[in-house]
Subunit: 340 residues, 2 copies
């Protein structure tokens, strides 16, 4: 059942039927009703390929997926996707993942924009002066950045959580508890969130006249194994920290294991606070010692990004509005006063 048939059946022109269906004003309300009715009754659905060719709009949002044998997709992605999908479903938006060589994403961005394959894109895990953000900005497609890219020299729309504030508060709490030697086990510091978190810790320490020693901070890909190794390294050095801030629950698993392997305890010897993106399958309250966390649902962020993308597509949102969400600090058993 296509437009032509429907129009013929109603003894109307395709023009009128199309306008009736798309809510244009120049059509009699009764006619519109007749058309809507017939469309529903016959299950008419406009062919998206045809519509796309005519309008250039695709009803899809895009994401360039970096791939490659050495590239791992972050498990956070799936939670973000959950939220995104949840919103997108309610608004009949599809999501297209365009796999790209991790080292050459530009080609793919150019392709999907030139081909008008998607109406908007989002970018995640940006780094400082991220090239993708600059590119997408000049290409002129609606977009939202999940995270921030500092030093780009222009404004852009983004959604981020207050990573600096979160880790500042976490560190401040630890300092208040008497800790003087803090350590930070961070994510890859080519990403802004890691930079912000480090800044947050440094600021909190500075406020009490303390510093974060070079040997007390490590930036690694957030795996359990890296959490373990970092912790071993930290705790086996001379001025071992008495408190650790950690950028992910998965790494925290490794931290806990390392602490135990060294015959130490949490929070007796080491206090621990980790960032929790809220996974359904791994919860901080279920750690052997319940884990204090800075908590922010990445799933909610996914839904919000979808919502804003939809708004930008339909012209409801414009400009370079940045949105920063506060982060909860949830104190559980893994923190205590400094030993000694």
């Amino acid at each position: 059942m296509n437009l032509k048939q429907l129009a013929h059946m109603l003894a109307l022109s395709q023009t009128t039927v199309s306008r009736a269906l798309n809510g244009y004003p120049e059509v009699n309300e009764e006619t519109r009703r007749r058309v809507m009715d017939a469309a529903k009754r016959h299950g008419y659905r406009p062919n998206p390929s045809a519509r796309r060719l005519a309008t250039g709009k695709s009803g899809m949002i895009g994401y360039v997926l970096p791939t490659g044998a050495a590239v791992d997709i972050d498990p956070h992605f799936v939670e973000f996707l959950s939220g995104l999908g949840d919103y997108a479903r309610a608004h009949e938006l599809d999501l297209v993942l365009s796999p790209a060589d991790a080292d050459d994403q530009e080609t793919t961005y150019r392709r999907i924009v030139a081909n008008r394959q998607v109406d908007a894109v989002y970018i995640s895990s940006p780094g400082p002066a991220d090239r993708r953000v600059a590119l997408v900005n000049t290409l002129g497609i609606p977009f939202i950045v999940h995270g921030r890219s500092e030093g780009s020299g222009f404004d852009y729309p983004y959604l981020d959580i207050d990573n600096e504030g979160a880790f500042r508060e976490a560190a401040r709490l630890l300092v208040q508890l008497g800790h003087r030697r803090l350590a930070l086990i961070n994510g890859d510091n080519r990403e802004t969130f890691a930079i912000h978190r480090e800044r947050g810790v440094r600021r909190a320490l500075a406020a009490s006249g303390l510093t974060l020693g070079d040997s007390h901070v490590c930036s690694v890909v957030m795996t359990e194994e890296n959490g373990y190794r970092a912790t071993r390294r930290l705790l086996e050095q001379d001025d071992a920290p008495t408190a650790i801030a950690c950028s992910s629950l998965i790494m925290a698993l490794g931290v806990v294991r390392a602490v135990r392997d060294l015959g130490l305890t949490i929070p007796g010897d080491v206090s621990l606070i980790a960032h929790d993106d809220v996974f359904p399958w791994l919860k901080p309250e279920n750690f052997s010692v319940p884990l204090s966390t800075t908590r922010s649902s990445i799933r909610l962020a996914g839904a919000r990004v979808a919502e804003r993308l939809a708004a930008r597509i339909s012209g409801l949102e414009e400009g370079a509005r940045g949105e920063v969400w506060p982060v909860d600090l949830v104190v559980r058993g893994s923190v205590a006063g400094a030993p000694g």
Copy 2:
């Protein structure tokens, strides 16, 4: 730069240019070369919307993503996606995720097929007589099932791992080590993989005249917390098992925690084998006691599914060929002889 302009520039008809570019035979080789050359020089890329409208082919593969506030996307998904994307990139295929109400995926399947939005789809985590498989089969779109759906009454193409064999071998090893009371902490038993794994364990036990008691098997969503709870329940009952087979590494985290909480040890009191889908961020060899596993890379499966989908799209693969991959049994420190 569109076809018309390119044709005009070459003083050829659109027909000839189109045919030259698409490798049709009825065009002089020299002409073809000229066309190909000019196309490359001017960076001509056929408009996919137009091509799609004309041919009905989209160059995309589809996946219906169940969503909803209560629906969690499996973290395995991201690894599968990694492999899929890796292959898809090399073949210029995009992946479109169509979010659907988890309780009504049929509408979405019908839509993406009717609209010809994708050239093929894959289905994951099927259950017995899965309705999606039947639906997609009748809709007549190329597809591959990742996993199996038994009792459908028809054949279909799939890729699965030998879950039964894997867990049979795992259980057999435990029995050989003298264990008489095994337990299985399984995934949701509405999914075929869980059924197969249980069957594998039962067969291995039966071969030695043993059985799997009802109180020794649990089917739960695969979270750390559920792994913990199941283990507590198992080990606190009267005829507690001395060995546990577990369907996922994430659940195994909970198992380990529960065993420790009960003051027991692995493998002293309890032997443990878990299935490992090979995550980059959580490795069995890094468990406090290195974990024995049945191992099969879900990422490789993703790549293979993409490969077969591409083959089916281009007509290279046909029929209902099923493919079952063997699973490695990797023995590490978490298994030992039965206590006592």
